[in-house]
Symmetry: C2
Amino acid sequence: MTTPRRPFRRAGEEERRSDLIAATQECIIEGGIGAATIRKVADIAGVTPGLVRYYFADKVSLLSATYLVTMSTMTQQATPILIDSDLSACAKFRLFIQASLTAPVMQPRNYQLWASFTSLINSIPEITVMHRQAYLEYRNSCEVLIREVFVETGRDLDDRKIKGLAIAVNALIDGLWIEGCMAVELFEDDELVELGVSSVQQILGLKEL
Amino acid sequence: MTTPRRPFRRAGEEERRSDLIAATQECIIEGGIGAATIRKVADIAGVTPGLVRYYFADKVSLLSATYLVTMSTMTQQATPILIDSDLSACAKFRLFIQASLTAPVMQPRNYQLWASFTSLINSIPEITVMHRQAYLEYRNSCEVLIREVFVETGRDLDDRKIKGLAIAVNALIDGLWIEGCMAVELFEDDELVELGVSSVQQILGLKEL
DNA sequence: GATACTATTACTCATTTGTATAACTATCAA
DNA sequence: TTGATAGTTATACAAATGAGTAATAGTATC
């Protein structure tokens, strides 16, 4: 008398991994990083716990992979505009700000994921490294945009000055993003985008952005 | 033949509670919120697990209390300047920014604590409420300062405009604070303070702050 | 349609964790 | 000194957790 096995479907490696990562994200969003247990992840992904281990050697490696996907997804959603090159530098900058401060980049779940992972910055070396990289990448995007805008408006600044502006602009956008993610209902539509654009404009000392 | 009991000292309620809260902070800093187990907290506080329960009904209530202490400590460290009233509004603002962007307010452990707690914003109702309150308080401090500066410089702006500026200034300082906490070694001494002051000045459209 | 491969399930195990409760003792007041 | 109080320890327990292993069955290939 053998108990029947749960029927299953064999999925491709890529699909399974991304399913498991998505499930991990759901866990974290629902109950914080502590709620992301192997069993819950497996449950949400409609799979048994053993399979999680088959794809991810460790819990840490599952979390790291999830962090990586989370960040690169956001980056991708916030910066594809930069490739569009027939726009003016100012227009690009505006779009960049707008993308960063509206959905899907700016939404509660993204903050929860980001906060959960970065809170482990001193505990999980992999996350330390990935965070540093993501931060510098984003800041560099700001720096490139600022430089282009200055070229366009015919102004000249030394690199040191520009780096400082990039740090400030980055901080401003990050700050607005956090405020917006955490309390969507506290702001009117596009209020944060407009604030972001006008503040960046002021920081850079431009008449118009 | 009875095994000897561990000797102990009876502490006042206030002292014990604050010890336990400090121990909770240490746990979180070392290994994230998941590392804050009752046993580890008790261990660090030099106490047995049972005592934790004696002072905190729940793990949630321990975490909530720790969050409250964490936030009010930071707020207190960042805003005592506001009481000093014989300073000019601009000077107050500068001090406010400086306090926010230097130790002890700006230091890695504070970010870790803050991120750990806010990552639970959707999971623990107590934290939701306390966060919202802390955020609005800090933003209000910004708003008051901005208003005073404008009075001092003889400019007049409607409330809506001022609220917007407060949101932006708040975001900027938060963003710089996060960057500084997460990567102290990436910035030179006072670099962030100077960036903060000059950026706020620009956002507010002032010639000098 | 039979075979081989491996993705997937099922099960196990030692630890950890939150919570609960009873026993003990430091401390203070009389 | 004595007794009472409550802060503190010791111990227990069920549930959850990360990790490991063997058996099974989808599925592609021939």
